[in-house]
């Protein structure tokens, strides 16, 4: 039994298994079509090799710091793997005044063993501002929110580039993806009333195509284009915010006719009346949760500490005879 485990934990096998890992990492970086999960295969094989080596390799018993480094490295691999099974990752866009709705999160990762996502609503989006330096360089992003508390109490919080918001283990991070949203009021001929927002593309990145479309409750598909009175002066410092923005919304009807509506102006359409209520900002958030992340971090730091200890013992805390062991034999061969 042990000889086969020893073979499984051989250092030569380690070196050989590192090659496919290197190749897979390289391939993942070069081929968009290749899923990064493929890296898990050589990593798992290396993990098995490492476990067998820890069990059988006498060098680990002689060098406790080296053992600690490899155990921590194994812990990083295992914890990162477990974390991936419970990972929650997604994006959501929130308009000023809108409550967070977990069902609207566009998931990019939902771990196999994860049971559920965040509860909602947990907070309501407040004011969004983004400062720009001359040259259209994004500076500070500020997002104000009202967070639901116990017994109906709410608390105001602000977060942005350097401070994320974490609620019940879910982290909300602001992103570069943000823009304007037209708040529309619809009164149907049947008396139905709707209030909603149409998000325009990210601003100022897509300043040149602030367009979107919407199918009204009356069944008409209309085009909407945001026309701002002032364009961005790239040479000046500037603040992106909804306050004080003069705008019109250009409505394009299915027959090609157009109309321009300012704040509070209405247009009669098939099945009802559309009013442009106001212009607000929307922010694209990244929402993520990984219960293992802090433990991966701790294991990684411990592995570095153990590695430092090992090299100290190997190179500085012993006589040079031991130090030159590996290289010395080769020198004997060449000299």
């Amino acid at each position: 039994m042990m000889p086969s485990v020893a073979k499984l934990g051989s250092l030569k096998l380690t070196a050989i298994l590192m090659l496919p890992l290197i190749l897979t990492v390289f391939a993942v970086s070069r081929l968009d079509s290749l899923d990064s999960n493929w890296v898990a295969i050589p990593l798992a094989l290396l993990g098995i090799n490492l476990m067998a080596a820890i069990a059988t390799n006498a060098a680990f018993r002689r060098q406790p710091a080296l053992l600690a480094f490899h155990v921590c490295l194994l812990a990083v691999i295992v914890l990162a793997g477990i974390g991936a099974l419970y990972q929650y990752d997604g994006h959501v866009e929130l308009v000023e005044g809108e409550a967070f709705d977990a069902s609207r999160v566009e998931l990019t990762d939902f771990g196999l063993l994860r049971q559920r996502g965040p509860d909602s609503p947990q907070f309501t989006q407040g004011r969004i501002t983004v400062d720009y330096a001359p040259g259209l360089i994004r500076q500070s992003t500020f997002s104000d929110v009202l967070v639901d508390g116990v017994a109906g109490h709410t608390s105001a919080r602000q977060f942005g580039d350097q401070a994320n918001m974490t609620i019940d283990g879910y982290r909300f991070s602001t992103s570069f993806n943000k823009g304007f949203a037209a708040v529309l009021h619809w009164v149907g001929s049947d008396g139905d009333i709707l209030l909603g927002a149409i998000n325009f593309p990210s601003y100022p990145e897509y300043e040149w195509k602030q367009i979107n479309d919407w199918t009204t409750p009356g069944g008409e598909n209309i085009g909407l284009e945001l026309e701002l009175a002032a364009t961005v002066d790239r040479a000046q410092a500037w603040r992106l915010q909804s306050e004080g923005s003069n705008f019109t919304i250009k409505i394009t009807l299915p027959d090609g006719k157009t109309a321009r509506l300012g704040r509070g102006e209405s247009l009669s359409l098939h099945g009802g009346q559309l009013t442009v209520a106001e212009l607000r900002m929307w922010m694209g958030y990244r929402v993520d949760s990984n219960p293992m992340l802090q433990w991966v971090f701790v294991a990684a730091l411990l592995s570095i500490a153990a590695l430092s200890m090992h090299f100290y013992e190997k190179y500085w805390n012993v006589g040079r005879d031991r130090v030159t062991e590996a290289g010395g034999q080769r020198h004997a061969a060449i000299s």
Binding site: L11, K12, T14, A15, M18, L19, L21, I22, V25, F26, V28, S29, S36, D89, D131, A133, P134, G135, L136, I137, R138, Q139, S140, T141, G160, D161, Q162, N164, R171, S173, S175, F176, P204, E205, R286, D288, L293, F297, A300, L301, S303, I304, L307, S308, F311, K314, Y315, R320, V323, T324, A326, G327, G328, Q329, R330, H331, A333, I334, S335
Partner: protein
């Protein structure tokens, strides 16, 4: 006026000239001459002062550190590489002959820097984070240690090729040990660089790893270095020259990661609108 772009340019040209002088001195001044032992480290110290002054002038004028553009990265690396090598030169006697490789490399980087546009780009807000400092400092230590080790390995390779029966085998052996000590320290620094970078990325962009080009190449460099350290221990029958070549390969990968990939890949490490 003292903090103007012209002052910075002048300091830069003086820096390049100093590296040229250091390159010549490393070739012409015999290492064994104790009376002249101060020459090479003295010139490197002058270069360090000039590089620090150029960085300070730029930092005060632009009100931000040298983190973002190729110019910034080259300038700060000229300082950090010279700083790390000076420390190695003073502390590790066996690595002193490596100046003959290190100084021309720094001279070439300096000549490259002179040709690079110096315009500053304001730092994105996400760069205002102390994890970035830890990430950058550990990265620069790694790069500097790699340069010193690769220069030592290059000399060892040249010495082996030139003389199939090296007359000075004990000296080669101690240089070889010094090379691996430096690579071990480089491995520690790079490991910390990756961890600190992941924490910074998590704070700055909401993800700790995203397989962007810079992250991937940094990981590849770490993996190749880890492989090299394993191979050295495991395959004892392998010619040591291959291991020295491996050290140079790790430096080449690090060079590509630090000074190539960030400037041909898209936005993630630069900030976006």
């Amino acid at each position: 006026m003292p903090l103007s772009a012209e002052t910075e340019r002048l300091l830069l040209i003086l820096l390049v000239v100093t590296f040229a002088v250091a390159s010549l001195a490393s070739i012409l001044v015999p290492q064994s001459d104790k009376r002249k032992a101060i020459v090479v480290p003295g010139i490197i110290t002058i270069a360090l002062v000039l590089a620090a002054a150029a960085i300070a002038v730029r930092w005060v004028r632009e009100d931000q550190g040298p983190f973002l553009t190729l110019y910034d990265v080259l300038l700060s690396n000229l300082f950090s590489l010279a700083f790390v090598y000076l420390a190695v030169y003073l502390l590790v006697r066996e690595m002193r002959p490596a100046a003959i490789v290190v100084m021309p490399v720094l001279l070439l980087l300096g000549l490259w820097l002179v040709r690079v546009p110096a315009e500053a780009i304001p730092l994105p807000a996400t760069y205002d984070n102390y994890w970035l400092w830890l990430h950058v400092i550990s990265g620069k230590l790694f790069f500097g240690l790699c340069l010193a080790a690769a220069s030592g390995a290059t000399l060892l390779m040249v010495g082996t090729v030139r003389d199939s029966r090296p007359a000075d085998a004990p000296a080669m052996r101690s240089t070889d040990v010094a090379v691996w000590r430096l690579m071990s320290m480089a491995f520690i620094c790079q490991s910390f660089m990756l961890v600190a970078g992941a924490v910074w990325a998590h704070s700055a962009w909401g993800r700790y790893w995203a397989w962007d080009s810079l992250e991937t190449w940094a990981l590849l460099t770490w993996l190749v270095l880890a492989l090299l350290l394993h191979v050295r221990i495991t395959f004892k029958q392998l010619s040591i020259a291959y291991l020295w070549a491996g050290v140079v390969l790790v430096f080449a990968l690090a060079f590509l990661t630090f000074l190539g990939v960030p400037f041909v890949s898209i936005a993630p490490h630069k900030g976006v609108m």
